[in-house]
Symmetry: C2
Subunit: 196 residues, 2 copies
């Protein structure tokens, strides 16, 4: 049976997405053995959303949150990863990512527009769903750094005030986790793996 | 603020799950550059569920399907990956995985029991949700092999009848994808990357 153009574009999209497994982040695995890639980060973040849901005080739509976690880094397949503490890289990030979104989602038509809207909602951090997802996107690399002696924090180097600023979405999205995180920041400073 | 025992066990669980990124599958990435790990496979499978949902004729609960995709390989953190075409490995797989499930999910209490039930439902392949998820678990490595010259098919070597038997869940879960897959099997045989 000949493949429909639609299914062909969907299978091509799934194959293109395989490349997310080769987009390396600045974050190292918890055991410090190697850098993490976007695909495994997205999986870990979605899993953490399931685990930590109860700490979010808002009425979030978990199906949508999970979908957002899964697609939130897809544009990096073409735009690359931009280090959160790299001011210069942040400057042209939006233009690079919009172009990448067009290239990646364009061929998928209506479905692509939907995936793109999920990513844009996540990125805008305005809805409760997006704010909860974003808080997990911030919390995950933080957690890794507490485990691998601040491996990424040493690049820069990053100070605790910058880390706290970056973690800000957690304050309202998961208040109890935020409080625990503050203690973890203090412990990290005492251990000498994060600069005050 | 001292961390509650519950949140402590949840954060420990999230950290333990980082190890799924180091459980290597037999499958190679689409570009054949290296073996795939369980974490990135789970992400890719969940993403494919979103993309191919329309080909499933059943009334599936997508939130549950996505949750299943995310947890379906977690027990391999302690039980290891068992190659689908390894008959000996399949024999003690269940005992190894039950033990691993106890170790991984036990400390999480009620939430752990829920995650375990998701995994068990997936594994039993009886509900529509599980059958749809399972069909994607089968389709993904198939798709990889069509891209990387049958890299995993050469181990064994695997013949087309074995591949088709393994892909059987796709026949009813995604009939149009099944038909297209049959053509891809024929093409793979003609290209010499799969034995008839």
């Amino acid at each position: 049976m000949p493949m429909s153009d639609k299914l062909r574009s969907q299978i091509d999209f799934i194959i293109a997405c395989d490349r997310e497994k080769q987009v390396l982040r600045q974050t190292f695995l918890c055991d410090d053995s190697r850098r993490e890639n976007d695909a495994e980060h997205s999986w870990h973040m979605a899993l953490a959303a399931m685990v930590l849901r109860e700490y979010c005080p808002w009425d979030v739509n978990m199906e949508k949150v999970l979908r957002m976690c899964l697609v939130h880094d897809l544009v990096e397949i073409y735009a690359g990863d931009t280090f959160a503490y790299d001011a210069a890289g942040q400057e042209d990030k939006e233009a690079r990512e919009q172009e990448a979104a067009e290239k990646l989602f364009g061929p998928l038509g209506e479905q692509g527009a939907y995936f793109r809207s999920l990513w844009e909602e996540f990125d805008a951090m305005e809805t409760y769903d997006a704010r909860f997802a974003a808080s997990l996107d911030r919390f995950m690399p933080f957690l890794h750094n507490t485990q691998n002696n601040g491996r990424t924090w040493k690049i820069g180097p990053v100070t605790s005030d910058k880390v706290l600023k970056r973690m800000e979405p957690i304050r309202t999205a998961m208040p109890e986790v935020w409080n625990v995180m503050l203690d973890m920041v203090e412990e990290s400073i005492e251990k000498g793996i994060l600069l005050r």
